[in-house]
């Protein structure tokens, strides 16, 4: 039937180079070569991709693993079928003149954190280093940060969450020079969690038609990613073409593509179980309100990538 070749992918943010691989695959006809008819749905600040998946609005979604594991515990069995992003791009960016040099200096400071399922790595990091997040003298005051860098520029927060590929560049674009800033990469703090994996509903995987479709989808997507890594400028140009808002700037997207390439570089698409275990360990080490309460079972599979990458 016709659905055998239709794939809808739900992104977790608006069209930008973070998702270049998929747009490249679409634009360069990699999906078409696989006989696929792919629709990419951009996301937004209030849309939860797992919810879209649950409602049947999409076949696959991109998600950060903490959020996906939380969804599993909420009774929505999503499974990671591919992990194009090897490394985490999440970090905290702070003003140097606040005197912050080490994590210990966070005490008494105000820190902007993204919520919406993205807060868990931060919370578990803080609980690992023993800093309370209740806003007391000795702890940090947490702000729910909007998805922009204003709290830092306006000095409403001493540190904010940034992605290496996007928000950090925006801080620099605002005229701030790198040596006014101090950054803490989650990757370097040992609390990195997996970002931007491809997830599907577990029940669908038992359907061979669906499985085959995903194999082709992952294969084409990875081809897209590798193409994008090699041709960052063109990839950014393709992303811009698909940006319906018309508000993205070329320079920013090219820079983003460059940073993204660093994150995808180490991955052939298959999830590295060691990264998974580290992610789970980080989350289970969480403070009073952990994302997940137990070691997840069957949250990832190599079934798809094994077929796709051969």
């Amino acid at each position: 039937d016709g659905h055998a070749n239709d794939v809808t992918l739900q992104l977790q943010w608006v069209t930008q180079s973070q998702f270049a691989g998929y747009y490249v695959a679409l634009d360069q006809g990699f999906y078409e070569e696989e006989g696929l008819n792919v629709t990419i749905l951009p996301g937004g600040p209030d849309i939860a991709p797992p919810q879209v998946l649950a409602g049947g609005g999409a076949d696959a979604m991109l998600n950060w693993m903490p959020s996906a594991l939380a969804a599993r515990e909420k009774g929505l069995p999503v499974v990671n079928i591919a992990q194009p992003f090897k490394t985490s791009g999440l970090m905290l960016t702070c003003w140097k003149d606040t005197g912050i040099e080490t994590v210990e200096d966070f005490r008494g400071k105000t820190i902007g954190v993204w919520f919406f399922g993205n807060e868990y790595p931060f919370l578990s990091w803080m609980s690992q280093v023993g800093i309370p997040t209740d806003g007391g003298e000795n702890g940090v005051t947490v702000l729910k940060q909007g998805f922009n860098v204003d709290p830092l520029l306006q000095r409403q927060a001493d540190c904010i969450s940034t992605m290496t590929y996007n928000e950090y560049g925006q801080v620099l674009d605002a005229g701030v020079s790198e040596d006014e800033l101090v950054t803490f990469k989650y990757e370097e703090q040992g609390v990195a969690t997996l970002e931007d994996g491809i997830y599907v509903l577990e029940e669908n995987l038992s359907d061979p038609v669906f499985e085959d479709k995903m194999v082709r989808f992952v294969r084409a997507s990875m081809k897209g990613w590798k193409w994008a890594e090699e041709n960052p400028e063109e990839a950014a140009g393709i992303v811009l073409e698909y940006d319906e808002t018309g508000a993205q700037s070329e320079a920013a997207q090219i820079r983003m593509m460059g940073e993204i390439a660093k994150l995808t570089a180490g991955s052939n698409g298959a999830l590295d179980p060691a990264d998974f275990d580290r992610t789970v360990a980080t989350l289970l080490a969480g403070g009073s309100d952990p994302v997940i309460t137990a070691e997840p079972e069957g949250a990832w599979t190599h079934a798809i990538t094994d077929k796709a990458l051969n």
Partner: protein, 280 residues
């Protein structure tokens, strides 16, 4: 199919009961006029429960009312903290501030026909600025704390109240005004003894609209930046965690608070404008 059939049956039963009550002898008593909407609401809830369970809709899309109720009961301290942050510190403060400044502006505008002509169109233009656009700007200016929520609410309710108050202050008949002129009454006497009382029905109209706006404004503004407490914060983060039962519990709080607030203002209105034909 079974689900639709039983939901339909519940609907018919509820409607039948309400029709009986609405046409019954004591249909205007306070008790019955609370009972009827309550029955309507309960009917909807039962249908909701039946449909969600019968059609197997996932709880991460639409949880059944029983689950929402259970979550509500379990999270009362959390809900209370959120309520306190958003409604008390945000919406109410903004409501008072917005109302007072709208009154002040209305009285200023009202002093001259020229100002009124100028302020009303500009005012309705400003009122058309959508909150989803203005809220992030206020968060940027005033930070994530309650101050930005207060500002959003105050700005949002400012123009409805201003427009209503100005319209109300002008809603006197020529004869009522002429009467004051024959007494040689000055501006303030006319304002206090004629125009303010005459404006009350309009002012309350604005105040009632403002109650629902204030709530929505305070909650929505938290979507764009907030401390880690508050109804808008909870709703937006819980959606991300797929804790839809908690989202709906917060929506229930918003609906209860909003209806109570509206009811309170309507009650004061009936006391203050007892003389107006619509209240008799």
């Amino acid at each position: 199919m079974m689900a639709f059939a039983s939901a339909g049956a519940v609907w018919i039963a509820g409607w039948w009961l309400n029709t009986r009550l609405a046409h019954g002898p004591s249909s205007d008593s306070r008790r019955v006029s609370l009972l009827i909407p309550a029955i309507f609401g309960i009917t909807i809830l039962i249908m909701w429960e039946i449909l969600v369970r019968g059609l197997g809709i996932s709880a991460v899309i639409l949880p059944p009312p029983s689950m929402i109720g259970a979550r509500f009961a379990a999270e009362i301290p959390l809900l209370w903290a959120d309520f306190n942050q958003t409604i008390i510190k945000g919406a109410l403060v903004g409501y008072v501030l917005g109302t007072l400044s709208a009154f002040a502006m209305a009285i200023l505008a009202d002093r001259s026909d020229f100002l009124t002509r100028g302020i009303l169109p500009v005012g309705s233009f400003m009122a058309a600025l959508p909150i989803v656009g203005t809220a992030p700007i206020f968060v940027k200016w005033l930070g994530s704390g309650p101050e930005s929520k207060v500002a959003v609410v105050a700005v949002m309710i400012f123009f409805p109240i201003l427009v209503n108050t100005v319209a109300g202050l002008r809603d006197t008949t020529a004869m009522q005004r002429d009467l004051m002129r024959t007494y040689g009454a000055g501006y303030w006497a006319t304002l206090l003894k004629l125009r303010l009382p005459a404006a009350m029905p309009f002012i309350f109209n604005g105040l009632k609209i403002a109650t629902t706006l204030a709530l929505i404004g305070a909650i929505v503004a938290e979507f764009f930046g907030s401390p880690t407490v508050g109804m808008g914060f909870r709703i937006s983060t819980s959606v991300g965690q797929l804790a839809l039962d908690l989202v709906w519990a917060e929506i229930v709080v918003a609906a209860l608070a909003g209806s109570a607030f509206y009811g309170l203002v309507a009650f004061i209105e009936s006391r203050v404008t007892f003389w107006h034909p619509s209240q008799r």
